[in-house]
């Protein structure tokens, strides 16, 4: 049984102390803009109703945070492990420099989702966005997996300049390659059956969390975007 914490009237520091004080799972109610909830957390389950402030789960290193509403900017900033589940939309820069763990967003993400995502040894971060993503999706991505499903929202599945600066990892979008304009340093091709098999566990988890039908999701073309190893970003330098 989760311990209920009333967030109204608490600032970020005060709320953080209350959350930490209780060893078992907690439920934060009446949340309205308090920042840094679950920042640096290593274990524990937090459920949030209301709107958490920026940097939810920053530096998360284990445990789980679930939000029953929209979240704001900088969700999962430099996350190393753990799980974040958002029953709504997220703002800009979700999963900045994410190194491990998983983020599931039922709705859409803003700009720069997954910017600087990276892998390290056996850590592979994963982000699944059920709706659409804004511009600069996966900017500077160095590792990890981003999935965008386009199940909700209108307009193109991703904004302008997707995968700008991508040099590792992969992005799977539930669309055809020609629907988006990728930079010259990225190859975007129709995803193969093996490509989809590799990410199936994450899609299954997404469906479990949000009550979606996997067969509906898989019944559409997917695009796999990866960096083109023959055409990496390269500045022509000459020694001086």
């Amino acid at each position: 049984m989760a311990y209920k914490i009333e967030a109204q009237g608490l600032d970020a520091a005060g709320l953080g102390r209350q959350i930490q004080a209780h060893p078992g799972p907690v439920e934060v109610v009446g949340c309205l803009g308090q920042r840094f909830i679950g920042a640096g957390m290593q274990r524990k389950k937090i459920r949030v109703t209301g709107i958490p402030g920026n940097a939810l789960g920053a530096y998360l290193n284990g445990g789980e945070i679930e939000v029953c509403a929209n979240a704001q900017d900088a969700v999962g900033d430099t996350m190393n492990d753990g799980t974040i589940v958002i029953h709504g939309d997220v703002g800009d820069t979700v999963g900045y420099a994410m190194r491990g763990g998983e983020i599931y967003v039922e709705g859409s993400a803003g700009y720069r989702a997954g910017v600087h995502m990276k892998e390290y040894q056996d850590k592979v971060p994963v982000m699944v966005i059920g709706g659409r993503a804004g511009s600069f999706l996966g900017e500077y991505q160095a590792g990890g997996v981003i999935l965008v499903l386009g199940l909700t929202g209108s307009g193109p599945i991703a904004g302008n300049f997707p995968c700008a600066g991508m040099h590792g990892g992969k992005v799977l979008l539930r669309c055809r390659p020609e629907e988006l304009l990728f930079p010259g340093q990225v190859t975007a091709l129709p995803a193969s059956a093996q490509d989809l098999d590799a990410v199936r566990p994450y899609l299954e988890e997404f469906c479990r969390r949000f009550g979606k039908d996997l067969s509906v999701i898989l019944n559409a073309p997917f695009t796999l975007a990866v960096p083109d190893s023959r055409n990496p970003y390269r500045q022509m330098y000459v020694a001086n």
Binding site: E139, F161, A164, G165, V238
Partner: protein, 499 residues
């Protein structure tokens, strides 16, 4: 030697250990420095102009050129150059004639200006991976947008010059430089998406193919100017002055006017080609307006008109007058600009630095509320991409490059263009020398240079948090002066570093 003989300035030094007697140097030096009499290789250093052709071409790297250490007594006032110039004039009674820009140690303001970078309060941008634009559109902009009866914009603009990067090749006439040099410039301009300038020597018929990237010049001698020529250019430049020799005209001796030059300039072979200092139909500013409109009418108002002037003391007022004369673009040429030939005293003592001229002109046009009626091109010793960035921050839309372009083609700045014996095939009309410059390879080197500079400009823009170059134009707050007086800072319109 004799009573009036002056020891040569340079000494050619040959390493006998490395020299393989291939005699390449004998073939390469058009000045006749290296001689072989069947047994011995000798150098007559008196003929050496320090152009480094033999040095570069020697397969054994056996040659080097040093300053002769036969020195006159040191004197900060009567330096040896000054003394030797007097010797020359006493000997000849002539006006000293030099080539390329002034080498005198006047202050270089580019080297006293520092650029900003964004930090903390404003992000910098990575130009390699994020969008970055250096496209420029030069020309007159309308005062109010025009709409049709349906309320939508008519999108009509006065004629513009579109550049892929903020740099153009400045005027160098066919006559002062070779056919192959022109071809290299034309090819490079086309590949880069910028323009080169015919200079006052007309447009060779072979180069009409490069029309979309050609600026045709109308200078005082009107050489080669006819209706076809005017319509061939993407723009027409009226040359009122040149930074290296303000107030002075040009003179190509009849001996250099061979068949090809004669055809291109449309003058008889062997006749002198004289470009008087003023256009003899422009004695006052209103005459300029008449010439501008005569050119516009002849080309059906389809070409932007550039007026090129030297940077002199009242350049701000002159620019204001030009802006109101109907010209679309003003090109200002600073006193350090290069030339094929100019009287030394004029080159070294007349005119003002482009940095100050540009700042003054940009400010004056803004004070009068007319800055958007003309584009500004700045030239006169733009030596690197940093100079370009600083010029734009001072107010230029784009810059003119000439000396840097010639260096890319192989020039080593020996400054003896006026002899017509350029060993690199650039400032000569002798066929055997011209052949040494491969136009395709030259074009490639020019493209390399401009591409590298464009990338560097993008790096500097990104550092300042700017991703479209128009946001740097006239953005003086991105500059700070270092080691400048209060008055210099005031004229440049920048604060001192630390403020």
């Amino acid at each position: 030697m004799g009573q009036w003989e002056v020891y040569p300035e340079f000494e050619v030094v040959r390493s006998s250990a490395r020299c393989t007697k291939c005699l390449g140097c004998v073939a390469q030096c058009a000045n006749g420095v290296h001689q072989y009499d069947g047994a011995q290789l000798t150098c007559d250093s008196a003929k050496c102009v320090d152009c480094h052709r033999c040095v570069a071409m020697c397969p054994a790297r056996a040659l080097k050129i040093v300053k002769a250490d036969c020195a006159l007594r040191e004197n900060s006032n009567w330096d040896s150059q000054t003394i030797k110039e007097i010797f020359k004039q006493a000997q000849s009674g002539g006006v000293l004639l030099s080539s390329m820009g002034t080498p005198k140690p006047y202050p270089v303001y580019w080297d006293k200006l520092l650029l900003n970078a964004s930090q903390v309060t404003n992000p910098s941008i990575d130009p390699l991976r994020e969008p970055m634009e250096t496209r420029v559109c030069l020309g007159k902009k309308p005062g109010r947008p025009q709409r049709g009866p349906d309320g939508r914009f008519t999108c009509e603009l006065p004629p513009q010059l579109k550049l892929a990067m903020p740099m153009l090749f400045s005027a160098m006439s066919y006559g002062s430089v070779s056919y192959n040099a022109h071809e290299a410039l034309a090819r490079a301009a086309e590949e880069l998406g910028v323009y080169y300038n015919t200079g006052e020597g007309g447009l060779h018929e072979d180069f009409y193919a490069y029309s979309p990237n050609t600026i045709v010049q109308v200078a005082s001698g009107r050489f080669g100017v006819h209706e076809g020529y005017l319509n061939a250019g993407a723009a027409i430049e009226i040359k009122m002055g040149q930074g290296a020799k303000p107030g002075i005209g040009g003179h190509l001796p009849g001996t250099k006017v061979g068949a090809d030059i004669s055809r291109t300039r449309m003058i008889p072979e062997g006749s002198d080609a004289i470009s008087p200092a003023p256009h003899h139909d422009i004695y006052s500013i209103e005459d300029l307006r008449q010439l501008v409109y005569s050119l516009k009418q002849s080309t059906h108002h389809k070409k932007p008109i550039i007026v090129k002037v030297a940077a002199v003391h009242n350049i701000a007022a002159i620019a204001s007058g030009i802006a109101r004369s109907g010209a679309d673009i003003i090109a200002i040429d600073g006193f350090r600009g290069g030339t094929g030939a100019a009287p030394t005293r004029i080159r070294d003592n007349v005119g003002i630095p482009i940095e100050l001229a540009l700042a003054a002109v940009d400010q004056r046009l803004r004070d009068e509320g007319i800055r958007n009626q003309v584009g500004i091109i700045a030239g006169g010793s733009i030596r690197s991409s940093a100079d370009v960035a600083k010029a734009i921050a001072l107010g230029a839309d784009a810059v003119y490059i000439a000396t840097a372009a010639l260096l890319a083609l192989g020039c080593h700045l020996c400054r003896t263009c006026q002899t017509g014996m350029c060993n690199w095939g650039i400032a000569t009309q002798r066929p055997e020398l011209v052949a040494r410059l491969d136009p395709k390879e030259g074009a490639k080197r020019l493209v390399n240079l401009m591409t590298a500079w464009n990338h560097e400009i993008m790096e500097m823009l990104g550092g300042m948090g700017i991703n479209s170059i128009e946001a740097l134009r006239g953005n003086r707050l991105m500059l700070r002066g270092i080691g400048l007086t209060a008055k210099e800072l005031e004229i440049l319109g920048v604060a001192h570093a630390g403020e």
